[in-house]
Point group: C2
Chain length 564, copies 2
């Protein structure tokens, strides 16, 4: 395509509104434009990327035996009332009324609609299992849309829903979706991890998130350097080092005036942090509880909420903590707490030896405590964040932690929706049974943003070749002043296209500097430059976008590079 | 694809809700399902058709140099306020509020959004012309959604918008869109007509509608049997026959008691209807007017409204007519009407000779009237519907009339939106000018319905090959009872697919009658049947869906049929 025939409004300056790299670069490269908060128009170059992502997703879903359908964006309230979500779903569900004052919503997801379809159309075990997907525009009314495509309100999603007669069948389809997702993200050319995820309040049997790795990612992902183990931080369990113990010393109460933090305590008592057990007071559904962790560990609130069975969990403020324990923050310890107070000890802290902890008395701490007869060990649970370098729970390897952007999620739903909507079938014995469901999402437009977050440098985007808007960027230096360069460039343009390459030819009468900067910003994998000087030697300048240097090559060598 | 792996819930009975053929057959063939009024889910088979239509549209728009973009479905009210349409647009525009109580709408069309984009991104004549299209889900809150996909609320549309520096440039792009549309509907395999259309109240320079011809069409289309002339009935002008005139006879007033209709008048007076000039009283923006037409002509209300400059036009009731003319309906005539009353005579009636008309006196008519000194001819205008058989206005051919379904519309918009939104550019002299726009729509999902309305028989759909969900339907007779048939069918299935044919193999253990009926209903172009009996002679049964009879052919002959 000739650049003059495409609207590619590149920007030199970063728009003030754009907070994250992908938003900045997609705006600057003229790929998207903002219409209103969380609403974006895809310009020609950006749309080419989106369509390529979509097509790879479609091919792999088809290959995995899923059937493509297309459901309406506008959904009747009745179905959401049946599932109970009309009440439960927050204001992200945009509720609307049609001209007859009937209630509808803009679909953020389609469990209700597909389950309604399937309960009408599938009656027999012979029709199961079945897996349906769509690639469709969704709407979620985020309170604060931001980060461009990363958290928009209208977005493109691939959502799939499978229906089964039993759990074994669901497990098989789940596995095939897991593998399809792996193929999808591999084909997209993205570095990703499939991580075990918390099944949350829905309480399904299994769940994996697919994360594109990027330093800017919102989520921390724990993975093993050696085996396939990966989990998000809320679920990851390491095998942390536990300090060696040479036998119990005699407990001693020491004065520690003004101590507030673990670091101050370690300093004053000349102890390493793994000989300190610290306290954290939390409010679990408005009831206080005290959690004890090793001094060098970090509390994971999701793990704590799960361990406490709390639907809402927050840190207590200083007054709440003192009201619950009877002592100021900084001096709370396991010995002598009010008997009725709920106490949980992290599994690593439960193995602490000769440790220091608050004495439940202002300005005093214990040292050389040990769990045992004098200090019975309370209930224990995994409450801590895994740290990089710990041993993997599944092999002898060590764990690393990286940031990730969630772009996919697969989930064994169980019968939550099928039971609510009474989606039943007749089994081989003619008995009516409730179907079992799985659901499988990919944020198609989010993948575009995540690809940029993972692949850029200070000059612009570096598209993975499979989703680049064009394969080749072609520039003729001062083409408007040199007929020879113009003719050679046009000839090369035609030849490359006839060989099946998608070529973006910058045919504008612009200065080379502008053309080079724009081409780097847009981020096509291959750049070819035609110039008067090099033509004389029968050479072209070739550069791979991700490479540091350009090369001077003859045409055959350039073609070999493009094919590689 | 094996039929057992696709959800194709065919129905024997026609759903009660389905009023038109396309709705009935698309439901019965298991291609769509209703979610709520005017909202449909596309099942796998229907979606394959939709995607094929979409792809042909996309290819031809690309070929015509249009740039694909994708705009949000949810649009901010501010832009519609700028264009004035927030107030003007009826309740078909679904107005919604987001969680912050800001006003938005679900886009039924995108003039505002694209004009807002272009006023920001295009500044110079060098960037013009430019033409942008999208294939996108639209919403129109019809008061009474019906006819399935024909008048749904959520539908898939291709909409394009072009921007120009002057009218000549618009005319060129308009012509190229006209030609692209011709290619699109030809490739879709549909019989269609491009007709001149009324530009209506927007007042653009030119407009054509593209109609798929079908007896069930809502619109009447006038076309020439000989040349390319075609227009919708509101715009068509024929050259109707005018009765020969051998000189004026003497007028005579005759008693015609109880006459109400032209037919009664002709009967009583022994006159042909083309020697009668009839009256129609209308209310034009609540002012009465009397229209005169030849007795055998039909009034066209759109033409009359245009001739009267009325924005609202309706027939007067008997009381209104009598109040305006002073005489009962049936006896109104041109001679002696109240002087202030507005009167228009149709151009054909203006050439009437020795005609009869009401005498403006109950139970009396004139005969042998002629326009002239005694009866001055009032203002004339084209008020009548063209009739089949008249001469074409552009050649010596004769006109025919067929019914059509509007599936496309191209329109020279002028500066309606660009002026309202101040979309300007700098011309070659550096002067700021308002852009000129065109817009070009195709109802993509409506095309699917129109294709069915045009192509079906009493057994089901007959898809045009280019948009059929599969090319070939394959049936093995009693395959579950005959290993030989099963093996031969599977082998043929694999071979056809390896040759690039899209094959739907009905692999269900169903009775042949059910399989045949289902395959006819679904309407694939080619059907191949494998049976024990024919296998013995090395033959296959082949049938072209549109043909009356099946043929017994060897495999090579069948392949030749598929390739034809």
């Amino acid at each position: 395509m000739r650049r003059s025939q495409l609207l590619i409004p590149t920007l030199k300056e970063t728009p003030a509104e754009a907070e994250v790299i992908s938003h900045q670069l997609l705006m600057r490269a003229g790929m998207i434009r903002r219409l209103a908060a969380g609403l974006y128009t895809w310009l020609p170059l950006g749309l080419r990327v989106l369509r390529k992502v979509e097509q790879i997703v479609r091919e792999e879903m088809d290959r995995a035996g899923a059937q493509e359908v297309l459901m309406p964006m506008v959904q009747p309230a009745e179905l959401w009332e049946e599932s109970g979500r009309w009440e439960q779903y927050g204001p992200e569900l945009l509720r609307i009324k049609d001209r007859h004052q009937r209630d509808f919503c803009l679909g953020p997801t389609h469990e209700e609609v597909i389950t309604d379809l399937i309960r009408r159309e599938i009656r027999s075990y012979r029709q199961l299992p079945a897996n349906f997907y769509q690639i469709q525009t969704k709407f979620r009314d985020e309170i604060r849309p931001r980060f461009g495509l990363m958290r928009g309100r209208e977005f493109l999603m691939k959502d799939a829903y499978s229906f089964h007669g039993d759990q074994d069948s669901l497990a098989l389809t789940y596995q095939s979706m897991y593998e399809a997702y792996g193929r999808i993200f591999s084909r997209l050319g993205l570095e990703f991890r499939a991580v075990e995820a918390d099944t949350g309040s829905i309480g399904g049997k299994a769940s994996h998130e697919f994360h594109v790795l990027a330093d800017s990612g919102e989520d921390a992902i724990v993975y093993c350097h050696q085996c396939a183990y990966a989990a998000n931080l809320e679920l990851a369990q390491g095998r942390p080092a536990v300090p060696a113990c040479d036998g119990a010393l005699a407990p001693e109460k020491v004065r520690t005036p003004g101590i507030r933090t673990v670091a101050e305590q370690a300093e004053m008592l000349k102890l390493p942090q793994d000989r300190i057990v610290k306290s954290v007071v939390v409010m679990a559904d408005d009831e206080p509880a005290v959690l004890f962790l090793m001094g060098d560990d970090e509390l994971n609130m999701v793990k704590a909420a799960r361990a406490l069975g709390a639907s809402q969990l927050r840190l207590a403020d200083a007054d709440e903590a003192e009201a619950a324990t009877g002592v100021a923050v900084g001096f709370i310890g396991p010995l002598g707490l009010p008997a009725k107070l709920r106490v949980l000890v992290d599994a690593r802290a439960a193995r602490a030896c000769n440790f220091s902890s608050g004495a439940n008395e202002k300005d005093w701490h214990w040292i050389n405590l040990n769990w045992g007869d004098a200090l019975p060990l309370p209930e224990t649970a995994d409450l801590r964040n895994v740290q990089a370098g710990e041993q993997c729970p599944q092999c002898a390897g060590h764990l690393g932690i990286r940031r990730g952007i969630e772009v996919g999620h697969i989930f064994q739903l169980g019968d939550k929706y099928s039971r609510a909507l009474n989606a039943t079938f007749l089994d081989e014995q003619g008995r009516e049974q409730v179907m079992i469901m799985g659901c499988y999402g990919i944020g198609v437009s989010r993948v575009v943003a995540a690809a940029v977050e993972q692949n850029y440098d200070d000059r612009g985007i570096i598209w993975p070749p499979a989703i680049a808007p064009f394969h080749v960027g072609l520039i003729g230096i001062n083409m408007h002043k040199s007929e020879r360069v113009a003719a050679a460039t046009e000839q090369l343009y035609d030849e490359l296209r006839s060989l099946g390459f998608e070529v973006l030819w910058d045919d504008r009468p612009e200065r080379p500097g502008v053309q080079f900067a724009d081409m780097d910003l847009i981020g096509l994998p291959h750049r070819i430059v035609v110039s008067e000087k090099n033509l004389e030697h029968g050479l072209l300048e070739y550069k791979f976008r991700a490479a540091a240097e350009a090369e001077l090559l003859d045409k055959e060598a350039v073609l070999a590079r493009l094919r590689a």
